[in-house]
Symmetry: C2
Subunit: 136 residues, 2 copies
């Protein structure tokens, strides 16, 4: 059975990217905030490793999120090399709006499905996320 899941992944990604443009966010920003929400405060290097991304990219992402007021960024007093990131209340609110957008997209994409099918899809995607080590 050929799902062509790769091509579909690209389409879904594209739609999601477009859907969060009004929030002034890119998918990686959402990924970073989601990570902070799930794990609590973390150093930039921790974030880079968890996201599978170069540390220099985290600088850029954190710059942007800090400018939006979505995260705080303070030197760890116990190790002043570390820059500790954490979600602000504004950040949590912003992440809430991301969730709304996500739900709308989910609804749009799975509109034709019955409740049973939706449950199965949720299970499948949950398993997929767990496999990817993703908080969901």
């Amino acid at each position: 059975m050929a799902f062509r899941i790769g091509t579909l992944g690209a389409i879904v990604t594209e739609r999601f990217t477009a859907a969060i443009v009004p929030l002034d966010l890119k998918p990686k920003h959402v990924g970073l905030m989601t990570l902070l929400e799930a794990r609590g405060a973390a150093s930039q290097l921790d974030v880079a490793r968890a996201m599978g991304v170069a540390p220099s990219l985290v600088v850029t992402l954190a710059d942007h999120l800090e400018r939006l007021g979505a995260i705080s960024r303070v030197r760890d007093p116990d190790d002043r090399r570390r820059q500790v990131l954490d979600l602000t209340d504004d950040g949590r609110a912003l992440l809430g709006r991301c969730l709304e957008v996500t739900l709308e997209l989910d609804a749009e994409l799975t509109g034709g499905l019955g409740p049973g099918d939706r449950a199965v899809l949720a299970k499948v995607l949950g398993a997929l996320a767990a496999q990817a080590g993703l908080p969901i």
Copy 2:
């Protein structure tokens, strides 16, 4: 119910991209070949419109596929502005190997699922593909 389908889309896309590296292909190359397989020969502008991509990008993609011997590229004798692309036999074989890779990835991602769940997933993704106007 939050599927976080956007984030998952990114993960799947990434995996697919990695999986076709050995074939010297990127996802868009596969998209172009799939299009030619489904619709038959097409001009570069047709391809650009169908893929939702700039015509100048099709030049690059076609250059690469032509170098691989996967597509032919001939001037339309009836309208010599048009450069007509078509899959070669080698291209069809290459696309076959892409399908194998896709099937392996599908199997890997849905390994823990029962046959009923897989059927539902196939249906859901099929509907999604149809909605995106994608041949599947």
